[in-house]
Subunit: 346 residues, 2 copies
DNA sequence: TCACAGAATGAACACGTTTTCATTTCTCGT
DNA sequence: ACGAGAAATGAAAACGTGTTCATTCTGTGA
């Protein structure tokens, strides 16, 4: 009954809880770890006292000994970008429910990988890493992860063959873009579009490359001439300017397929407010992603949906499965895409 | 010369670096901490070998002993919300440059505080916390921080007096909304607006409350009748519906002041596409924030600018100053607002 | 040459956990 | 009542670093 420590300076420790509950410090640790053997009444008492003392196990100490930081590193070029921000949001919610926290890092906005940043991030010991910077290979990423296994975003169709083979262990999220792109091209063709342009995203982005190749392939299969390409970088402003150039300097188009929805917004605004063309009467526009803003009335965009919740669920599954089976061979998840028809085509 | 350890399983440790460099482990620690005495040549050698071995001090261990996690907790109700995502982006960049990382947490979207989440976050030992959930008081926040000092977003003018007095130590970011709101009302009045409506944000948000009170006060001073209030929650959809109700059920308005830019977008789209009214000819619209999307041609919004970079710089200053002076009295930073005139007024 | 201050150095400790491992206590069938 | 297996328990050893403190080295002025 030596309750001398009335004012616990700073933070309560397991020792203090143990002292008050008349148990050993180990028991306190066990009380907070589900799959350990501890008499239920004892566990209850400890948890009650812990709550009184506002005690939570120190995650730094826990990480040090267990080798698990419960942190998931997320590398993004641009948090504001709608697609990314929506994914970060859903990912954070999902990870939080599983006891993890999102550790955010920003890299260069041209979608190229920054080794210095990877080294910096590595210092925080993330259990897993999700890189939006999709031009990085598992090989590079793995070099900067100690025990974590990289997750690789893979576009199986229309992909260059240079990344098969001797890649180190990694998990894959396969994205099937064919269905969505085929439906989009079919729709445009149905409305009699002859000259389809592709408004690209950032040049170094894998997603952009895969999308452009898939579009070319589908158009060729359907007997259409290859698309005119206008260079953007996923941003509104670049898309706006590229669209103007396409019509003022270039040959124009009667349909534009944008690499992402935000780019499509730039296209639409350039057509309507700068070039005084009507959408969809004069020019049809299709985007890619189906972000939340795409149903806003000013745009009301027809777009290839890449379901965000589905994608986040798949990512979380990959992360958890890997953490539970550190030495298992590579896991895979596969996502499909489909067209969402709104007002910018017909 | 006992170089037996050729393949360093997992992660390199200070011990290994020390062994290779023929120095003590303490020297390695010192090599990575700037203000310690160590012969320059020795430090150089250690850093070189560290790089070879891909070594970085383990932050968990470092945090355990130094009490500094170098993590900044950020609590957000909605990452996708443009204003928040832009702040997170800028904040992450700025913190990264100072050696910190952003730890993201999501709370309920109604802008109310969630004690469970605070306890959860506390486990990660953040050195500082920035809560976008502005209805939480320093008192509540402080209870969940061990050594960190909360940063309080304060609206000095038109603020209820209930938070003065015995608050625990905290730092303040004062936001002066008067200038921006006055300029906005003056502009509307100049264009002959008679019935000004306020489209609110989330009810529990301090920012929303302060904005509405400020608007009431300024309008009263200028001899205008109090604004009609349409209830939104900062989202596009709620603003869209509230605007329709305002005109279909309510008495309408000839100018609408929205609590944030995204809300203003909803207002504009409802007016144009649902109510078939012209902006700005029939109804004038003003927003609040000046987010990146506000200059998009479809909206081209006149808005009260709350400079994001300025705000982030101020927050980072507060964080760093506090970390360097843990026991100093409360620090303060002050921000102003101003009107940015675009196309939605006249 | 001597004394002395300051820089450089390393041994030992501390940080708060989880994890082994050996020991003790409980439970149940005979 | 007895033994065996399972469950519960606590002592001690990690985990990888920063920090203190006493010691050794270095250079300077008298």
């Amino acid at each position: 009954m030596t309750d001398t420590e009335q004012a616990p300076r700073g933070r309560a420790t397991a020792e203090m809880v143990a002292a008050r509950a008349q148990v050993s410090r180990v028991a306190v640790s066990r009380a907070f770890n589900p799959h350990t053997s501890l008499k239920p009444e004892k566990r209850e008492l400890i948890l009650k006292i812990a709550q009184e003392l506002n005690y939570t196990p120190d995650r730094a100490a826990r990480a040090l000994v267990s080798g698990r930081s419960h942190l998931v590193g997320v590398i993004v070029p641009d948090v504001c970008s709608h697609w990314e921000s929506q994914e970060i949001d859903a990912l954070t919610t999902a990870l939080q429910a599983e006891g993890f926290a999102t550790l955010l890092f920003k890299t260069r906005t041209d979608y190229s990988m920054d080794e210095q940043l990877l080294a910096y991030m590595r210092g925080f010991n993330p259990d897993s890493v999700i890189a939006f910077v999709e031009n990085v290979k598992p090989h590079t990423l793995a070099r900067f992860l100690d025990r974590a296994v990289p997750i690789y975003i893979h576009y199986p169709q229309a992909e260059l063959a240079d990344d098969a083979g001797d890649e180190p262990l990694h998990d894959r999220l396969n994205v099937l873009q064919r269905d969505g792109v085929e439906q989009a091209v079919a729709l445009l063709q149905g409305f009699g579009a002859k000259r389809i342009a592709y408004l690209s995203g950032a040049e170094k982005s894998r997603a952009n490359g895969a999308r452009e190749r898939m579009l070319r392939q589908v158009m060729a299969e359907r007997g259409l001439a290859p698309p005119v390409v206008a260079r953007g970088d996923f941003s509104y402003d670049a898309a706006y300017q590229a669209t103007i150039d396409l019509f003022r300097v270039g040959e124009g188009a009667d349909a534009i397929f944008a690499a992402n929805d935000v780019g499509a917004f730039g296209v639409i605004d350039a057509l309507r407010h700068e070039l005084k063309l009507r959408v969809p009467e004069d020019v049809k526009v299709i985007g890619f992603d189906d972000i939340a803003q795409s149903h806003w009335k000013s745009y009301n965009l027809t777009t290839v949906k890449f379901d965000l919740d589905e994608r986040v669920r798949a990512l979380v599954r990959l992360i958890l499965r890997r953490l539970n089976n550190p030495d298992a061979p590579g896991f895979q998840e596969t996502l499909n895409t489909r067209l969402v028809v709104r007002g910018t085509v017909g």
